[in-house]
C-alpha cells in the first residue's frame, strides 16, 4: 500500500465503493420487490426527493457568503 494517498485517489476509491454498494442494493431491491410496478412506485418519489435534496443543498451552498 502506498504511504501517501492523494485526496483525489481517496475520493475515487470512495466513489467506487459506493457504486458497488449501490449495485448490490439495487440487485437486492429488484429481486425482493413484487414487480417493477412496486419499484417504480417507490423509486420515482425517492429519486425526486434525493434530487431535490441535493439541488437545495447546492443552492444553499452557493448563496452562503464565502468564509474569508
Amino acid at each position: 500500500m502506498p504511504r501517501h494517498v492523494s485526496a483525489a485517489a481517496r475520493a475515487r476509491r470512495a466513489l467506487l465503493f459506493d457504486s458497488v454498494a449501490a449495485v448490490v442494493l439495487a440487485a437486492l431491491a429488484l429481486s425482493l420487490a413484487a414487480g417493477l410496478g412496486v419499484i417504480g412506485f417507490f423509486g420515482l418519489p425517492l429519486l425526486i426527493v434525493l434530487l431535490l435534496w441535493i439541488g437545495i443543498e447546492r443552492l444553499v451552498r452557493l448563496r452562503r457568503p464565502p468564509r474569508p
Binding site: A14, A22, V23, L25, G35, G40, G43, L44, L51
Partner: protein
C-alpha cells in the same frame, strides 16, 4: 536614497476562497449517494417496461394505462389500497333530493313484461322507492327492429332507498334466442393462442345485439379460464364460473370440478366467489381474502355483475356507488338466482346495445357509463362478451 526601479505592485485584494470539499464525503452524504445510484439503477428496467407498455396501442387514458401497468407488475395491492382510501374519502352521503326522472334506455315505451310469443319474458322489476318514476323497472327492447320477442331487454330502477339518487341499469338476455361469445382483448388474457381481432369481428356485426365487459384480469382474479375447450388458467374450486358447454348452453355455477374441465366445457371464466347462489345472497359479501386483491367489498364504486334467472336467461347489472352486497341485491331483484361479480371501476364497466343491425347506433345501458358505447367496435385491451342474435335480426 535610491529609488527602487521595479514597478510598484499594489497588493491584490485577497479573495476569500471557498473551502474545498473534503476528499471523502461524510458518511450521511455517501449513504445518500448510494441511495441515489441504487434508485437510478432500479428505475432503468422499470422505466423501459413502462415506456414499452405506454407506446403499445391502447384506448384508455394515460393515467389508467399507468395504473394498469403498475397493477400488472406487482403493484396490485398498492393500487387497491390507494383506491380504497380514495373511494372511502369520496363516498356519497345518504339521502339527497329525489330524482324526477330516470335515464331513458331502450327504444320503445311498450312494456315487455309478459309472455310474448311463447317466450318467458321477465316480470317488471318491483320498484323499491315509492312512488315509482315513469318507466321504472319496466323492460324495454334494446333494439328497434328486433324480432318479437326482443332478445335483449333493458331497464333502470332506483336500487337503494337510503340513496334515492342511485340508478341501476339492468339488461335481460334471452338465452334461447342469443349466442354468447367470449372475445379476448389485446392484453387480456395475457397468454392465449388465436387471440383474434380484440373487437367484434365485422363479419359478425350483422347479428350483434349487445356487448359487455368480461370480468377481472386473470392476474387480479387468480382464477381460471377455459377458452375453446383449452385450459388457459387453472380452474379453482368454489369460484363463480360462467360456463358455456359444447351444446351451446350457458350457465353460472360454483365450480367444483377440479383444475381441469370436462370435455363438455367449451368456455369457462371464473371471477370471485358467487354473489348469489340458489337464489340467496352469499352470506360472506363483507370483505375477506376470498374476494382477491381488489378494493374493499364495502367500498362504493362502479360495479357490474352477471346472473342467470330461473329459466337460464342472462341478467346483467351495472351501477355506480355500489358495494358487492348492493350489486347482489340489484341482480336478485332483477330475477337472478345465481350471479357473479364482473368488473368494477368506471374505466372497465360497459354494457352496449345496438339499435339496429350491423352494430348501428350503439348506446350504453346507463348514460353515465364512462367508456363510449362503441367500445368493442375497435380493439380493446380487455376481454369482453358479445351477444349475437341467433339467425339474425
Amino acid at each position: 536614497m535610491t529609488r527602487d526601479p521595479r514597478p510598484r505592485v499594489e497588493p491584490a485584494t485577497v479573495r476569500p476562497r471557498r473551502p474545498l470539499p473534503p476528499a471523502v464525503p461524510p458518511p450521511w452524504r455517501r449513504a445518500r449517494r448510494i441511495a441515489l445510484i441504487a434508485t437510478l439503477i432500479c428505475l432503468v428496467p422499470a422505466g423501459i417496461s413502462f415506456l414499452r407498455t405506454m407506446t403499445e396501442p391502447h384506448n384508455v387514458r394515460f393515467g389508467v394505462a399507468s395504473v394498469e401497468w403498475m397493477r400488472s407488475h406487482g403493484g396490485n395491492g398498492i393500487v387497491s389500497q390507494i383506491e380504497d382510501w380514495y373511494y372511502t374519502l369520496t363516498a356519497p352521503s345518504k339521502g339527497g333530493p329525489p330524482l324526477r326522472s330516470l335515464p331513458r334506455v331502450g327504444i320503445a315505451e311498450r312494456s315487455s313484461s309478459s309472455s310474448n310469443g311463447g317466450a318467458q319474458l321477465p316480470p317488471r322489476i318491483k320498484p323499491l322507492i315509492h312512488p315509482p318514476l315513469p318507466g321504472e323497472g319496466v323492460w324495454k327492447p334494446a333494439a328497434a327492429n328486433a324480432a318479437s320477442p326482443p332478445p335483449v331487454l333493458v331497464t333502470t330502477f332506483r336500487s337503494d332507498p337510503e340513496y334515492p339518487q342511485f340508478v341501476a341499469g339492468v339488461a335481460w338476455i334471452d338465452s334461447a334466442r342469443t349466442q354468447l361469445a367470449y372475445v379476448p382483448g389485446i392484453d387480456e388474457p395475457p397468454s392465449i393462442e388465436h387471440r383474434g381481432p380484440a373487437e367484434v369481428p365485422p363479419s359478425k356485426r350483422r347479428r350483434l345485439a349487445a356487448t359487455f365487459n368480461g370480468g377481472f384480469p386473470l392476474e387480479t382474479s387468480n382464477a381460471g379460464l377455459v377458452y375453446r375447450g383449452q385450459t388457459i388458467a387453472t380452474m379453482v374450486n368454489g369460484i363463480a364460473t360462467l360456463v358455456e358447454y359444447r351444446d351451446g348452453r350457458i350457465d353460472i355455477v360454483r365450480w367444483e370440478h377440479g383444475p381441469n374441465p370436462s370435455k363438455h366445457v367449451w368456455f369457462a371464466k371464473q371471477n370471485l366467489p358467487p354473489i348469489i347462489y340458489g337464489g340467496h345472497l352469499n352470506p360472506d359479501l363483507s370483505d375477506g381474502p376470498e374476494w382477491g386483491a381488489t378494493v374493499n367489498n364495502a367500498v362504493r364504486v362502479w360495479r357490474s355483475g352477471l346472473g342467470v334467472d330461473r329459466h337460464g336467461n342472462l341478467i346483467y347489472a351495472v351501477a355506480n356507488y355500489q358495494t358487492v352486497g348492493s350489486l347482489a341485491e340489484i341482480l336478485r331483484r332483477a330475477g337472478a338466482v345465481r350471479a357473479l361479480e364482473l368488473d368494477i371501476n368506471e374505466d372497465w364497466v360497459s354494457f352496449n346495445t345496438y339499435r339496429g343491425p350491423g352494430a348501428r347506433d350503439p348506446s350504453s345501458l346507463l348514460p353515465e357509463i364512462y367508456r363510449p358505447a362503441d367500445r368493442y367496435l375497435t380493439p380493446d385491451e380487455r376481454d369482453f362478451f358479445a351477444v349475437y342474435v341467433k339467425g339474425g335480426w
